[in-house]
């Protein structure tokens, strides 16, 4: 008789089995692929009776802006949201680059540029998966916890789940997070570093634009801000990051009890060429025209038996 396949949780963490082989390869002269640091400005602020989170919307791959309007504020629970810097911020970037690559394949033959982009994406895709999965997983765990206890989630619960997860990956998941939310015990704001250490602060900034944003906070923050003052201050801090840091740019996203996507758009596209961007049909010389009619390969049969239960 077989034993029950108990749903054992996976052991977690990375497998370091190939480290020795990698070391040997480096000694033999192999250049290891380096991981890309991405730019971001993410901030959080506690005001009189709540928390405000802010983030820019630029996702970069080296010198290229991969996504001009990505979402860096992620859902944890209805009352708890999390901003991600580092690889966590590349969610939209990776999906953006994959579609970019696919559209190029359709229009142009495979070029060396494409291979380069694909290599970038492969590296990031792996890291992205791990980083975003950890946020997804914590959000799932919080949901189950809410069902079991019948209570709303607390920010410290999300904090503990995230820091335990990141610690078990020993810093290899480079997700630097700003976690904020309001629960029965009040408003809370925390920063979480890739190795799993955390800070609890009244205002916090992370990412490459953190110094620019922190400068704004340090000079203008005071306790007992009202909601509107707080949102204005957060927007100002993000703008400081957008304009003074190359890694951050585009628009401002804000979360204060509800997600204000693209709260501010300080970088609109102003110039659009009058000539337009399409080319007339006579521009390219047609050498050969071949039309292949599409055949339907799938036959749909109506009726049939329902699946046996």
């Amino acid at each position: 008789m077989s034993k029950i396949a108990e749903s054992v949780p996976p052991k977690g963490g990375f497998s370091f089995d190939l480290c020795k082989r990698n070391e040997m390869l480096v000694q033999k002269g192999l250049k290891q692929p380096s991981f890309l640091k991405t730019g971001t400005t993410i901030v959080g602020l506690v005001f009189k009776d709540g928390v405000i989170l802010g983030a820019d919307t630029r996702a970069t791959e080296g010198p290229i802006v991969a996504d001009k309007n990505c979402e860096k504020i992620h859902y944890m629970a209805p009352n708890i949201y999390c901003c991600g810097a580092g690889t966590a911020a590349d969610t939209e970037a990776v999906t953006g680059i994959i579609t970019l690559i696919l559209s190029h394949v359709v229009l142009i033959a495979i070029t060396s540029a494409l291979c380069y982009c694909f290599w970038y994406a492969c590296n990031l895709f792996y890291l992205f998966n791990v980083a975003m999965l950890s946020l997804d997983m914590v959000s799932s765990q919080l949901k189950l916890h809410r069902f079991h206890t019948g209570r709303d989630s607390r920010v410290v619960t999300a904090l503990t789940l995230l820091k335990s997860h990141l610690f078990s990956y020993q810093g290899h998941v480079s997700a630097a997070l700003v976690l904020g939310g309001v629960d029965v015990t009040g408003p809370h704001l925390h920063t979480i570093y890739p190795h799993g250490s955390t800070d609890t602060l009244p205002f916090a900034t992370m990412g490459s634009g953190s110094l620019a944003a922190m400068a704004v906070f340090e000079s203008k923050y005071r306790e007992g801000l009202s909601r509107d003052e707080g949102v204005t201050l957060v927007a100002e801090a993000i703008c400081s990051g957008i304009f003074n840091d190359l890694g951050s740019g585009s628009n401002v996203d804000i979360w204060e009890k509800e997600y204000l996507r693209n709260y501010m758009l300080p970088n609109p596209r102003t110039y659009v060429s009058e000539k337009g961007y399409s080319f007339s049909k006579k521009t390219a010389e047609v050498l050969l025209t071949k039309i292949t009619p599409l055949r339907e390969l799938v036959e749909v049969i109506e009726g049939g038996d329902a699946m046996e239960e």
Partner: protein, 235 residues
């Protein structure tokens, strides 16, 4: 569970081809408190008796109807602790499905997975079948649905069903009263009347539990005051 000393299953075939343990499990269900479910045109209602062993028990702490996902609820007849295990497993499976497919789990899928768990316990080493039958009520893209899952792991979709002590009377009553175009409110009234049929003692908002899911696709357990309103309407 499934220890090496118990690598043989306790549920074995009898010469007549029956699995006696499952029959006994169904008997355990049949001696549990009555519960029923009715599928209306625009929603589903499930209800159960909540008879507590003594007046000293704090009835607010007991909740027999549970939420599995925001749009799926469940009620049981039989052994309460067994149902707790199933509810926990089902919730986890629903969450895993969502994580993988980024889509709320369809009712049929969740029922199938729960039934699979129940079947596993009839064919594994060192464990016994669950002593509960579940009534799963949900509302998804296919509309309102009501399923019954038995200790054997078989499941059926019902328009209206009952389980527990008073099952035969309740089913007869439901057969007479059920119409395909029932509205949710009518269904709640019918559910209360069906419970009343076999109720020992005075029915009140404190000794029954009702869960509804309407076209808003949110499963809700009615509060005692809401149940009181429905009881007033029925009388």
């Amino acid at each position: 569970m499934g220890d090496s000393q118990y690598s043989f299953s306790l549920t074995t075939f009898s010469p007549s081809g029956k699995l006696v343990q499952i029959e006994h499990a169904l008997t355990a269900v049949g001696s549990g408190q009555t519960s029923l479910g009715i599928k209306a045109a625009n929603g589903v209602v499930i209800a159960t008796e909540k008879k507590l062993p003594s007046i000293l028990v704090d009835e607010t702490s007991v909740q027999k109807i549970q939420t599995l996902t925001p749009n799926i609820g469940v009620v049981y007849s039989g052994m309460g602790p067994d149902s707790r295990v199933l509810v926990r497993k089902s919730r986890k499976q629903a969450e895993q499905y969502y994580r993988l497919y980024k889509e709320p789990i369809p009712v049929t899928q969740l029922v199938r997975e729960t039934a699979t768990v129940m079947q596993e316990f009839t064919q594994s080493g060192g464990v016994r079948p669950f002593g509960v039958s579940l009534l799963v009520a949900g509302f998804d893209d296919k509309g309102p649905q009501l399923y019954q899952v038995d200790p054997s792991g078989s499941y059926f979709s019902w328009k209206a069903s009952a389980m527990g002590k008073n099952v035969s009377n309740a089913k007869t009553f439901l057969e007479k009263r059920y119409t395909d175009d029932m509205e949710l409110d009518d269904a709640v009234h019918t559910a209360i009347l069906t419970l009343k049929e076999g109720f020992e003692g005075q029915i009140s908002s404190k000794n029954i539990e009702i869960g509804v899911i309407g076209s808003n696709k949110i499963f809700k357990v009615l509060t005692p005051s809401e149940i009181e309103d429905y009881l007033q309407e029925v009388e």
